[in-house]
């Protein structure tokens, strides 16, 4: 059953043909496989409590981590500024990863360059690569700003970005007054949310604190504006657009810092936009004058927010607010900070979300959930689930820290629905696998990689997180605001109903409950 031109088979069909099956069987025989019974025995053993204990005693090895590295976050933040080319000082292979990672999630091209350090650069330092790299990318891609971050390679040898950029400018790689903010973003510290934080802080520092000693520091003249920071967020396209709508409804004057909602969602109309939208460089500089800054993700802005507060602004951090109460808090804070009222339109949206929750609560109430992802996302999701009467059982964040653990525990302790929940900072998806086998739940919430857990443990996966590679376009719909809460609710409900249908579809066996109305 080889390919025929009349009926070309996709790979998942083609290899089911007898000739390929035979080939695969031969390969297996050639490998002299282990006794299948023994394989089965070990497989079953990995599902036990005994194995779980050994698994949790693991120290050195991380298996299936639910996090990415700093520079990925730095690139994500950098492209949120007008005409900005992210320039990663280090090896080019890393940069190819960030680009493909972002492209696969957003289904958009992702433009980013590297200084392509090789072995000699690693021995003698990357200065030449920096000088040439800045000159080449400035001339080839005509950016308005180049935001520099680093890979591990440059960090291990200790390249001094500040000095390198200064030298590059002296050597004429880029004009002396050209904006080249920078951030050190080694992957061996923190995760992509740390990189986001560092890059954003680096850019603000550049504009506010005298452009690396080449210009006077800005003097803050407070105005009525509010700065908004989304943090590292797979739903940035939908979320930032929703936030803009809310801010405009309320009549708040605002600056969104690192607004990458356009560059990750460019229209297909015959024009390639290497850069699109973004916070303008003027806005970035003038953001220093704002009344205050709101961050939607505490652990994505751990350094940026105190930096902004030190410049005299009020700052406020949320933990990925989702659902009614969290959105209430967010809007209240916005209202207090800006002095603007909350319009009727938003009150109506609130009412609609509450209405939808009441219509469907019976199906979510008491269902058990496991959640993993970035710390703020986990916190926000857990809070929304508690509000829905669902019971989070495992909340796991590979890049969550001690403070996150404590804050999340406090959240769970405050609800009768959070009493049976454990919080796992610094754990990975292989730990989650043990948890799902030994303390099963009804549903799992996580990113695309959760599909292996879904297959292994039979726990249905609701895809909320980053990256989501195997489902398209969900990043276009918000999960913030009351309307975003509605989207999350529908996502969860869709899975619940799909599962009920799946479990009741067996003809003549279980289909007595295969109902039209749910």
């Amino acid at each position: 059953m080889a390919q025929s031109a009349e009926h070309v088979l996709d790979h998942f069909e083609l290899f089911r043909g007898p000739e390929y099956q035979q080939m695969l069987a031969k390969k297996k025989a050639f490998e002299n496989p282990r006794d299948p019974a023994e394989v089965e025995r070990v497989k079953e053993w990995t599902k036990t409590l005994e194995y779980r204990e050994k698994n949790f005693a693991r120290e050195a090895l991380t298996i299936n981590p639910a996090k990415a590295c700093q520079p990925l976050g730095a690139v994500f933040a950098s492209v949120g500024f007008e005409g900005t080319l992210p320039f990663v000082h280090g090896s080019q292979g890393c940069v190819a990863y960030y680009r493909s990672h972002l492209s696969r999630h957003f289904k958009e091209p992702s433009s980013c360059v590297s200084s392509s350090m090789t072995e000699d650069a690693a021995v003698f330092g990357g200065l030449n690569n920096m000088v040439d790299g800045l000159a080449n990318s400035y001339n080839m891609y005509k950016p308005k700003m180049i935001a520099v971050s680093t890979t591990c390679m440059a960090e291990v040898i200790g390249d001094d970005l500040n000095a390198f950029i200064k030298t590059s400018k002296e050597k004429g790689a880029v004009p002396a007054d050209f904006d080249v903010p920078f951030a050190h973003t080694p992957a061996f510290v923190g995760s992509h949310i740390t990189g986001y934080d560092n890059a954003l802080k680096g850019i603000l520092e550049h504009f506010w604190d005298g452009k690396a000693g080449t210009a006077p520091k800005l003097e803050r003249k407070p105005n009525d504006k509010v700065n908004f920071i989304g943090g590292f967020d797979g739903y940035t396209v939908g979320n930032l657009r929703e936030i803009k709508r809310i801010l405009e409804l309320m009549g708040v004057e605002y600056t969104i810092l690192a607004d990458n909602s356009e560059v990750f969602d460019t229209p297909t109309d015959g024009e390639f936009r290497m850069y699109d939208g973004g916070t303008t460089l003027d806005e970035a500089a003038n953001a220093v004058h704002a009344k205050g800054t709101i961050s939607m993700q505490q652990w994505s802005t751990e350094k940026t927010l105190p930096f902004i507060a030190d410049h005299g602004q009020d700052v406020l951090a949320f933990n990925y607010p989702m659902g009614v109460s969290a959105t209430d808090d967010f809007l209240m804070a916005l209202s207090l900070l800006s002095g603007k009222g909350i319009p009727e339109e938003l009150a109506r949206e609130r009412g609609r979300l509450v209405d939808a929750m009441t219509d469907s609560s019976a199906h979510i109430h008491g269902k058990k959930f496991a959640i993993y992802g970035d710390p703020d996302l986990c916190y926000g999701l857990a809070a929304f689930l508690l509000e829905l009467g669902a019971e989070p059982i495992h909340v796991l964040s590979t890049n969550g820290n001690k403070a996150w653990e404590e804050k999340t525990k406090a959240l769970l302790a405050g609800s009768t629905f959070g009493q049976d929940c454990n919080v796992y900072p610094g754990r990975d998806l292989w730990h989650m696998r043990s948890l799902l086998f030994t303390e099963p739940v009804d549903y799992l919430i996580g990113n695309t990689y959760g599909k292996y857990l879904e297959r292994d443990t039979g726990t249905p996966l609701i895809r909320i997180g980053f990256p989501v590679f195997d489902r398209h376009h969900h990043h276009r719909s918000p999960v913030w605001g009351y309307q975003g809460g509605m989207n999350v609710l529908v996502k969860i409900l869709d899975k619940i109903f799909d599962e009920i249908d799946k479990k009741t579809s067996l003809l003549g066996k279980t289909d007595y409950s295969f109902d039209i109305i749910r």
Partner: protein
């Protein structure tokens, strides 16, 4: 049409129906239910009632003769569980078009019947008459008779076009069709002294199955259930049963009574909603069977099953009693459920603030009085506005009703539980009662309700702010709400000091400067001074917006 009119009149004379029997001759002609008021919202039509009553026969092809409206809107809308055939869920309709209406739809109907037999060969076809063919004069009785003769297969006309009246009347007309064309047309393979019929039980969400194991344990055989999880052959041979239980008090009373008249099958009216009712029903079935020749020990065996099941259910419900203490229920439903559910809820320790009796018979009402006392709050016909008022005044913590009233409850932020046909859970029998109690508990404890009953936080905060400034503490009606909102609002980024604390300090110590507030509240950070200044200065704009 004249025969239909006669049938309808006959139904209105139903002696089994106490309510009708007590009416004067002139009123009886007007029919069972109140005449529909043009311009008002009303329930389903006679066609719908007929289809509801018969569709749970699972191996029958249900063919709706009419334009797409009738089957298009009712296809598979009830979750009556089937243990075998899926045919009942398949939508068959003649889907009449304009030409059929001009030239008549009889030929189309005949062809449709033939095609069903060709493709599916079911044991029988039920043909439902609807308004349009009835108005243009399609004679479905004649078509069915011809088709039955030609194809040698039962083709049963169900003459219940929507315009003849209410849903309830339609169910009875469906019963008439069974009596006239189906019941007694076949003989069972064998009979036992333990054969019973269940009449008016539809196995919604598999409710019947929650009871059936008890019957089987006692050796009682359900010869025919009309119509839940029923087969054509079973209903056709149902005339050989020894006793019958009338499950839904009004919809098929004519079937139970006429079967008693024709085949001497004694029946009683019972319910499996609630622990006491389930026990009573089992007892009554045993009594009737023994009266018809079953061995005496059936009664003893039944008592022991009852004792065991009751003990089990009570144990399962016990933990809820404390949780339900002081919780009030408003029950809006029809017919039999009004009293049988009352008993069930009381068993779980809930207090009933009212129950609707719109579709209940005089007997139903008497039973309610027995259960709830003479001054029971029986609601004859509750318009949504009144329902809204009762719920809004928080006279009830939860409302139990059908889907139609759901939205009234939800708009008043009152927990609600569906106990009519579109529900997802089965509440019958001892097992079902525990399920109902569990569902009520889940509804009452859902965290969303608390959220829903609170004003939007910005309104709550605005009110709390009034309180601080005017010092008119007594004028704030809902202190706790304002307090929660105030305590919830963090002022400092380090999240240690909330608005309430700062306001209280400002108010009680007469503080006027940021420094003073800091001293009193331990508010330590450097970033919050502006916010504290704002609180000290003037009410924020959102307060005005909320006015």
């Amino acid at each position: 049409m004249s025969s239909l009119r006669a049938t309808v009149r006959n139904i209105f004379n139903e002696p089994g129906c106490a309510k009708n029997g007590s009416k004067p001759e002139s009123e009886r002609k007007k029919g069972c239910t109140k005449q529909l008021q043009p311009g008002g919202a009303a329930g389903g039509c006679a066609f719908d009632g007929a289809k509801i009553a018969l569709q749970p026969f699972t191996d029958v092809a249900h063919l709706v003769h009419g334009p797409i409206a009738c089957e298009g809107n009712s296809w598979d809308s009830r979750s009556a569980a089937s243990s075998g055939s899926n045919l009942w869920r398949t939508a068959f309709t003649t889907d009449m078009n304009e030409t059929d209406i001009v030239f008549g739809g009889e030929k189309r109907l005949y062809k449709a019947i033939k095609q069903i037999i060709d493709k599916y060969d079911p044991p029988a076809i039920f043909v439902y008459q609807t308004c349009v063919p009835a108005m243009i004069g399609d004679d479905i009785d004649a078509v069915c008779k011809a088709a039955a003769g030609k194809f040698g297969k039962p083709v049963i006309p169900v003459n219940s076009p929507g315009f003849v009246g209410s849903k309830n009347l339609g169910s009875k007309l469906a019963g008439e069709a069974l009596l006239e064309h189906v019941i007694g047309t076949q003989e069972p393979d064998d009979t036992t002294a333990y054969d019973i019929n269940l009449i008016g039980e539809y196995n919604l969400s598999g409710e019947l199955w929650q009871i059936k194991p008890l019957f089987e344990e006692l050796g009682i055989r359900i010869l025919s259930c009309i119509s839940g999880d029923g087969k054509y052959r079973e209903v056709a041979s149902s005339h050989r049963a020894r006793a019958a239980m009338m499950v839904c008090s009004k919809s098929l009373i004519n079937v139970a009574r006429k079967m008693e008249e024709r085949y001497e099958i004694p029946f009683f009216e019972g319910s499996f909603y609630g622990i006491q009712d389930s026990s009573d029903s089992l007892r009554e079935i045993a009594r009737l069977l023994v009266g018809r020749g079953a061995p005496d020990h059936l009664i003893e065996r039944t008592e022991s099953v009852i004792a065991r099941e009751e003990a089990r259910a009570w144990t399962a419900i016990e933990p809820y009693k404390a949780r339900f203490n002081g919780k009030k229920v408003l029950l809006i439903t029809g017919g039999v459920k009004s009293w049988s559910v009352v008993a069930a809820l009381q068993e779980a320790g809930l207090e009933l603030v009212g129950t609707s009796v719109k579709k209940s018979t005089k007997e139903d009402k008497d039973r309610i009085k027995q259960l709830m006392g003479q001054d029971a709050h029986m609601i004859e016909d509750m318009p949504p506005r009144e329902m809204y008022r009762i719920l809004k005044d928080a006279k009830a913590d939860i409302m139990l009703s059908g889907g139609k009233s759901q939205f009234v409850a939800l708009k008043t932020a009152t927990p609600w539980l569906d106990i009519n046909q579109e529900r997802c859970h089965a509440y019958m029998g001892y097992v079902g009662m525990v399920k109902l109690v569990e569902e009520i508990d889940k509804s009452l404890s859902n965290p969303m309700w608390e959220q829903l009953r609170r004003p939007t936080p910005w309104n709550a905060l605005a009110r709390a702010m009034v309180k601080v400034r005017s010092q008119a503490i007594a004028s704030i009606s809902d202190e706790a709400i304002g307090e929660t909102a105030r305590r919830a609002k963090k002022i400092c980024v380090c999240n240690t000091v909330d608005l309430g604390t700062i306001e209280d300090a400002t108010c009680s110590h007469g503080l006027t400067s940021v420094e003073a507030v800091r001293q009193h509240t331990n508010e330590a950070g450097g970033c919050c001074s502006r916010r504290i200044e704002n609180i000290l200065r003037s009410p924020p704009a959102m307060f005005q917006a909320a006015e």
